[in-house]
Symmetry: C2
Subunit: 180 residues, 2 copies
Amino acid sequence: MNQRQTDVAVLGALSVEPMSGYALRQAIRDVLGHFWSESFGQIYPTLAQLSADGLVERTQEGAESKSKFTITARGLAHLQTRLSEPVHSAPPRNGTLLRLFFGRRLGVVGCRRLLEDAGSQAVRQLGEFDAIRREIQAEEPRDDHPFFLLTVSAGEHAARATMTWVEESLRVLDRIESNS
Amino acid sequence: MNQRQTDVAVLGALSVEPMSGYALRQAIRDVLGHFWSESFGQIYPTLAQLSADGLVERTQEGAESKSKFTITARGLAHLQTRLSEPVHSAPPRNGTLLRLFFGRRLGVVGCRRLLEDAGSQAVRQLGEFDAIRREIQAEEPRDDHPFFLLTVSAGEHAARATMTWVEESLRVLDRIESNS
DNA sequence: TGACTCATGTAAGGCGTTACATGATTTT
DNA sequence: AAAATCATGTAACGCCTTACATGAGTCA
């Protein structure tokens, strides 16, 4: 029920810059990585479909088996339509919170490990966001950049919220331990 | 690759209180709803499997076709094991951020709608968390409650972070609009 | 030359939702 | 008596990841 949004990610990336399927996957992993993911098994069939629909154009480059995909005018129009459609989010599945909810069965030690893992992940992410932000600001300015930075900011806010939650929660765990 | 965690949710819920498959689904929707979800198509087969493995016991109640599932001692042990296993989180897929990233193609108006939707969703969630919190605190105290509250707190932190991010981002959009 | 990266694709399988089918019990 | 809710299940299908298969170019 994730409602097939691979085309949005692919067309979107190609609207920024033409590239190969392989490069597409790298771009999605490295740039959208903190809020989106695609695998080869999705990208290549999608690219073939988009090409058949005339939304992207494939151009051979030098060696065969090496190609670049460029978004067409119709592709841009289609992207705009798809971007305007309502967001259909997947049902939530947070393994950390699931385990913490049943923390009485897991035990305080396990809960503490869970929280510490979540905390260090948030710290690591903050570092990555900082790197992305500086990378964007090092480039020559583009109209896209403010929007890119909006998504980085979302990640930063989420990561910082996680960090304060973790610290609070660790203190709560201390109290649980001393009470029992 | 979500690695089959339905059994954890089901055993966990039954470790709190024995109930029917139908009630199980309601409990998961109403109590774990903000961080977990299961559908009937998952719950019933899982329940059958757990029963075959001797991790839960099915007891007919009055009318046939009405039954309750109780977790067994082996089930409790298995739950503890499963809870201790490392969290394997699904690849991220945030439709709002995907759209916002390509905001230049979507347009500032569309971005603003996206943000406003995210903001009002966060406000609604904060209300729900408040209700859950009060519901928990209205019950007679249980050892589980502190852990339940930890997950509620996670939701509150996340929702508040979203709200401030939305407000900041709307102001950024204003500047983008006046600059172009 | 051997290892690594770039590059394109396919096939199998897992996980999960939605829709369907059916019937009992409770409420209005 | 009708409608809503409680209750249990199955079947079909969709989406996505993983693993496999293959080959060209690059670098040590």
